[in-house]
């Protein structure tokens, strides 16, 4: 099968044949399909299960998983542990009672792997025991007990692996697991095994955690081992490759929005909490592996800053050129600035990773969720009343302000829902958390939970964030801009007449539609007038979020995303003032409306960077599509490096460049068999192209078409 490349150049070979064959198997759905054969364990035989409290039910489920989940040890695997229950791939705790899942599981978080690797799970057990003693006799006792129960279950699963590895003579894996993850890792090899084993257990129990800053975590171990001569760089690469290959064990080729979005992102390079560059050998080994195998799980984001070295940027560009959208970049200067402005301590901000997708958070201590809204729909259906005859505004500003007030209403509504559903106000006026579904496994690895005696979903983590997201940013701004120009500035048509034209889906005024499409320049072309309207709009949105921040124990920072929702939204959207008819494909994330960006990638980046990104500490994603032909050769590589540097220099936040050719994608659509592992960046995640359904595939092709 080989590992797909879009630029016609064979991917380099550094790994041994056996590891490459293992990667082909994993990418070729072998283990995902295997997991589907055993979707869950059964809770049916447990006496008195129905009379258990929710937490008791959860603990019983985790224990049943630990005791009964199939073990999987792949031929020659260098690290062990596997999430073998298929229902976990559907985001539930894979323990069923009466044929149905009992609990949903958790995602959009990055677990604290630093404590696991450096201090060992024994240290977490110690904290859990302390908490249990402390909270005995209080309403927190049950959670503290559950922590101990889940650690006991972890123990059971760990012992099963030890026994099996011993029996089949996998000595290295066995010996590593005698130490980790319980005790602190001593070597690089142990450290990788430690991360993987804990990660695999969380996933086995249904959760989808992100990994976070793997090179920062593993780099010092590798450096130490290299100095002591106990490992070679080549062997370290093999071990890490097995980590990546095992990370593909949930790929099963299911069609839909892609089969590779389990939020298992990792973040490399950047500065540590003291501001020192962390880039190390592990950073480059990770890039080597992604380059060779084209593995897009774990989707990897590189933290760049204005001092990022030439070597790193060039290496990143080289890997990007093979396509697949396997690498994205943060400009950490902007991210850290936005987080500190928002109120995080500088050292905390410097620790940032993401929620497993691209939304920024302090890893290992944040409960994060986001709420996406279609802001274009809000404009069309609420502010402009579906273009009803009754709607009228006599100036742009009155219309704009009416829209802002609708946005405020929407966000206040969200906040009040959060309060009603998640919080309650105690007699003293203090907001406290209502009980939520149990989630102890993930709570064990999120800083704050065990100590506070509160679960991840009940305010346990240090930071609790709900982030409202603008969807359809470019479409919204372009709509506002087109009305401003056509109706109020250039007086091409009266407001009410224009509403009629839109109500009729442009069917009766093609000339005006063409005028709107062609005679104005929209967001994404480095033209100040539309770009600054976008900036003003985002700034106003961020201000509203700020006003509502922390009103009930929740942080409320805004972000910009669509995550592919533009596809489902497009069907419900009415005609757009900038010339789109109803139902047409619309803009992704903070990217321009497809087809309206006529000046190329640099202009897109410039327009995006004019936005007040510093006011959006969760992030705003920019997708940039590049043709393989435009980044080929040394010149192309230079150009891609310059694009990355320019992005940082101009103050971008997060960018996902994807090198893909619409023609190749069309071929893959026709002959999926030949393109099994061709991945594309969809939006915050990568997907193997052939596992997207037709509608998603068409959207990706259309976006790539537009970059020509």
């Amino acid at each position: 099968m080989g590992f797909a490349s879009v630029n016609g150049i064979e991917r380099p070979v550094r790994l041994c044949e056996k590891t490459r064959a293992y990667a082909e198997e994993s990418l070729g759905h072998k283990y995902g399909l295997d997991a589907k054969k055993t979707p869950c364990v059964s809770l049916d035989g447990i006496t008195g299960f129905e009379s258990f409290s929710p937490v008791q039910k959860y603990d019983a489920a985790i224990r049943a998983i630990a005791e009964n989940a199939p073990l999987r040890i792949c031929d020659g695997e260098l690290i062990s542990g596997a999430a073998t229950l298929g229902a976990a791939i559907s985001h539930v705790v894979p323990a069923f009672y009466n044929g149905a899942a009992v609990y949903m599981s958790n995602s959009h978080l990055t677990a604290d792997f630093f404590s696991i690797v450096k201090d060992g799970i024994d240290s977490i057990r110690k904290k859990a025991e302390q908490a249990y003693r402390k909270y005995k006799g209080t309403d927190k006792e049950e959670f503290a007990k559950s922590c101990i129960n889940c650690l006991n279950s972890f123990d059971i699963w760990h012992k099963r692996y030890l026994k099996e590895l011993y029996n089949i003579g996998y000595t290295a894996n066995y010996e590593n697991l005698l130490t980790v993850p319980y005790k602190p890792a001593k070597t690089f090899y142990q450290a990788v095994q430690s991360v993987w084993f804990a990660f695999a257990f969380m996933r086995l129990c249904g959760n989808w955690p992100g990994i976070g800053r793997l090179d920062l975590l593993l780099g010092p171990y590798l450096q130490n081992d290299l100095q002591n001569g106990v490992i070679t760089l080549d062997f370290a690469r093999e071990i890490l490759a097995h980590f990546f290959i095992k990370g593909c064990e949930w790929i099963c080729g299911d069609c839909g929005s892609g089969d590779a979005q389990h939020y298992q992102n990792l973040v490399i390079s950047g500065v540590d909490e003291n501001g020192c560059d962390v880039t190390n050998e592990v950073t480059y080994l990770i890039l080597d592996i992604i380059e060779e195998l084209g593995i897009s799980d774990f989707p990897t984001t590189v933290r760049l800053n204005k001092n990022s070295g030439e070597k790193l940027i060039k290496r990143v560009a080289e890997v990007m050129r093979f396509g697949g959208g396997t690498l994205a970049v943060y400009n950490e200067d902007k991210v850290i600035e936005s987080m500190t402005k928002y109120g995080y301590e500088l050292t905390e901000a410097r620790r940032f990773a993401n929620d497993g997708c691209w939304e920024v958070q302090v890893p290992g201590k944040t409960n994060f969720s986001y709420v996406p809204y279609d802001f274009l729909q809000l404009l069309q259906k609420k502010t402009l009343k579906s273009y009803d005859e009754s709607v009228f505004f006599d100036s742009f500003d009155t219309m704009y302000n009416a829209y802002l007030s609708d946005i405020r209403g929407l966000l206040e509504g969200l906040l009040s829902d959060v309060k009603t559903n998640l919080m309650k106000c105690e007699d003293g006026g203090e907001w406290v958390w209502k009980p939520n579904i149990p989630c102890t496994v993930i709570s064990l690895f999120e800083g704050g939970c065990v100590e506070k005696g509160r679960s991840y979903l009940e305010g346990g983590p240090v930071y609790n964030v709900i982030s409202p997201h603008i969807g359809g940013l470019a479409d919204t701004v372009n709509s506002l801009y087109a009305i401003k120009k056509l109706v109020f500035d250039d007086k091409k048509i009266g407001f009410s007449d224009f509403m009629r034209v839109l109500r009729e889906n442009w069917d009766n005024d093609e000339a005006l539609r063409q005028y709107a499409l062609n005679k104005y320049v929209y967001y994404g072309n480095d033209e100040d007038e539309p770009d600054l309207l976008c900036a003003r709009f985002l700034s106003d949105f961020a201000d509203i979020c700020k006003e509502l921040d922390n009103r009930s124990g929740y942080r409320f920072p805004g972000g910009v995303s669509t995550f592919g929702r533009q596809l489902e939204w497009s069907h419900q959207r009415l005609a757009c003032p900038y010339g789109r008819k109803s139902g047409e494909v619309l803009a992704a994330n903070a990217s321009p409306t497809p087809g309206s960006d006529k000046e190329g990638a640099t202009a897109i980046i410039k327009s995006y960077c004019k936005n007040p990104l510093v006011k959006l500490p969760v992030g705003a994603a920019l997708d940039v599509k590049l043709l393989p032909s435009s980044v080929k050769g040394e010149e192309g590589l230079d150009a891609l490096c310059s694009l990355l540097r320019g992005f940082v220099l101009l103050g971008g936040f997060f960018m996902q460049p994807d090198v893909a050719d619409a023609e190749i994608l069309r071929k893959a659509q026709k002959n999926p068999g030949e393109y099994q592992n061709l991945s594309v960046r969809v939006s915050g995640w990568n997907a193997r192209f052939v596992t997207l359904n037709k509608e998603w595939q068409d959207m990706v092709i259309e976006q790539n078409e537009c970059c020509r």
């Binding site: 093609e510 000339a511 005006l512 539609r513 063409q514 005028y515 499409l517 062609n518 005679k519 480095d526 000046e599 190329g600 990638a601 640099t602 202009a603 980046i605 410039k606 435009s630 980044v631 040394e634 010149e635 192309g636 230079d638 150009a639 490096c641 310059s642 694009l643 540097r645 320019g646 220099l649 101009l650």
Partner: protein, 290 residues
């Protein structure tokens, strides 16, 4: 008022994020007018120095708003006909056309204006990228050397794509790279297929080389026109003789430019028979490798 304010250049297009007109990220300024009339020209709308009315047929929605032209350029009796003889290039139809199917090619821009435009991508130029002047033939316009001088003064890396028909020694100090066309080395064929003699191209090339210009040759390869061994050998010999030549690129003919000829009312000159074979390309590459 300084010199730069007074000089204007006739620009047909400014394109950002060009990856193949020199190293790094570049902005390419296409200048209008060229002394040559190459058989294979893929930018034929940039040949004439004069402004021209372009018509993008596929964008036309047939709304006939252009029919209001006072000079009767646009008629619709037998489909949309454009009488370019009558056109005074007033730009009225361009303004009226809602779908941007009509466009006046050629905009006179001051050097300041051009600089402002190309500086938009300054953040992306880095160590390697910059501005490339192309066309048309940039040196057909007298203000080009001044433009290059100003670009250098702004710290912007400069490259020029030239057909080599002009003495460019004055521009050498302000040009980081010349992308120098060697269309043919056979004098008679050169004259026949480009309308100009080859000797001045070669003379100017050596003059520029002597003045210290960094040069990259650009060799169009047209099947059946210059795909003979002698031409390959001549180019290889030329490279050897030049002191500052940093390499050569082969540009295989493509037929896409043909459809662009129709924009200005010319015949589509695209001819697939002129596309060179892989074998021809590889043979040429082999010859100029060293």
């Amino acid at each position: 008022m300084n010199v730069a304010d007074e000089i204007t250049l006739r620009v047909s297009e400014i394109q950002r994020f060009c990856m193949h007109d020199g190293p790094g990220v570049r902005t390419t300024v296409f200048l209008k007018g060229c002394p040559m009339r190459c058989l294979w020209c893929h930018n034929s709308e940039m040949q004439k120095t004069e402004k021209e009315l372009l018509f993008f047929k596929n964008k036309c929605i047939g709304c006939r708003l252009c029919a209001s032209c006072k000079n009767g350029v646009h008629t619709f009796k037998y489909g949309h006909k454009i009488d370019r003889e009558k056109c005074l290039l007033c730009g009225e139809c361009e303004k009226n056309c809602p779908s941007s199917a009509l466009l006046i090619c050629g905009r006179d821009m001051s050097i300041d204006e051009i600089i402002r435009e190309v500086k938009k991508d300054a953040a992306f130029y880095g160590q390697t990228g910059g501005v490339t002047l192309s066309g048309g033939e940039p040196f057909a316009q007298p203000g080009v050397t001044e433009l290059l001088k100003r670009l250098k003064a702004e710290g912007i890396n400069t490259a020029v794509e030239t057909c080599g028909y002009y003495d460019v020694t004055d521009a050498v100090p302000y040009t980081d790279l010349f992308l120098w066309d060697i269309k043919d080395t056979d004098e008679a064929r050169h004259k026949k297929n480009t309308g100009c003699r080859n000797k001045p191209v070669i003379d100017d090339l050596f003059a520029a080389d002597k003045a210290g210009a960094k040069i990259r040759l650009r060799c169009i390869l047209v099947n059946g026109v210059n795909t003979d061994e002698t031409h390959y050998k001549n180019v290889a010999a030329l490279m050897k003789k030049l002191r500052n030549c940093v390499g050569a690129d082969i540009l295989p003919y493509h037929a896409y430019g043909g459809s662009k000829a129709e924009l200005t009312g010319r015949e589509d000159n695209g001819d697939k028979a002129l596309i060179p074979t892989e074998e021809q390309i590889n043979r040429f590459k082999e010859m100029i490798k060293n």
